[in-house]
């Protein structure tokens, strides 16, 4: 597992933690409010809420475990498919919608390097429907290091949201751009995003 993947897993865990905290904070405040409404002093109401709940740390660990155990795997691999559409190696193969020259990766054009790679989410509906497989997505990695013209070239699932998740994730990726003669250029890159349920 790359350092970046680990970093993003960590980030996801902390955002999960924030949600768990918020849910438990709501519960304890709401229980204390109901206790107070039943005539307890504010202090007693809060103490009784905690008492009835038991260990918050243990509950949180249990909630976290429910997610970690069920978390399916999403693997993203970069397919740098060399396609010579026109012209000699290293010449612009076409122009993007914005008129920018776009290259394919070749002897003269280095591949862009992903540096920020948030993973797509496995949608709950797709998990329930047990959809697995891979989406192939094509995009132009611009000299600024962002994906443009992101399109699905081989669909996996339009119904339960996995195609959309793949597109959404790639729009958030950031790259060190491809280089041609030492300068950043736009390149066309295909990605395969594999969704696997454990």
């Amino acid at each position: 597992m790359s350092v970046l993947t680990r970093f993003f897993n960590l980030f996801r865990l902390t955002s999960l933690d924030r949600e768990l905290d918020e849910e438990l904070r709501f519960h304890l405040a709401e229980r204390a409010r109901r206790n107070a409404a039943a005539g307890m002093s504010r202090q007693d109401a809060e103490a009784a809420a905690l008492d009835r709940f038991g260990s918050v740390a243990r509950a949180k660990a249990g909630m976290r475990a429910a997610h970690v155990a069920a978390r399916p795997m999403v693997a993203v691999s970069v397919l740098t498919i060399v396609m010579i559409v026109g012209g000699a190696l290293g010449t612009a193969v076409y122009r993007s919608g914005s008129g920018q020259r776009v290259y394919d990766i070749s002897a003269e054009v280095t591949a862009p390097v992903p540096v920020v790679t948030p993973h797509p989410e496995y949608t709950a509906a797709a998990k329930r429907a047990k959809i697995q497989g891979s989406v192939r997505v094509r995009c132009v990695v611009r000299p600024e290091g962002v994906c443009a013209d992101v399109t699905v070239i081989r669909s996996l699932d339009r119904t339960f949201g996995l195609d959309d998740e793949a597109l959404r994730a790639l729009r958030d990726w950031r790259f060190r751009p491809a280089l041609r003669a030492g300068g950043p250029v736009a390149t066309r890159v295909d990605f395969e995003i594999r969704f696997t349920l454990r």
Partner: protein, 110 residues
């Protein structure tokens, strides 16, 4: 021991699914109070176990959740039962009834 934990966990699932099946979306505090009310205070779910159970059941696809404003206008996570949760409920309900009937038969014989 494993049997015992499964039975307890199964009972909690049953109570939660039954409660949600009879109502719209509810947050954890309401689920806990509703179970206490309908059982005339005989059953008090351990609230620290309720939340892990809710998250486990959501991952299993039996319930789903949504953040909404509560009655007193705070953000709360509301749960509701799914179609697969209703199927699960009738399975567990049936198993529970069989179990209880078996125990009752033994009690009457003894």
């Amino acid at each position: 021991m494993r049997q015992r934990r499964d039975t307890l966990q199964g009972t909690l699932d049953l109570l939660v699914l039954r409660t949600l099946a009879g109502a719209g979306a509810m947050h954890g505090t309401d689920i806990s109070d509703r179970i206490a009310e309908t059982s005339r205070d005989v059953l008090r779910v351990e609230e620290g176990s309720l939340y892990p159970a809710l998250h486990r059941m959501e991952e299993a696809g039996w319930i789903r959740s949504q953040w909404k404003a509560s009655d007193n206008n705070r953000r709360a996570r509301y749960y509701q039962v799914t179609a697969s949760g209703r199927r699960r409920l009738s399975e567990v309900e049936q198993r529970w009834t069989t179990h209880v009937n078996a125990v009752m038969r033994v009690l009457k014989l003894a």
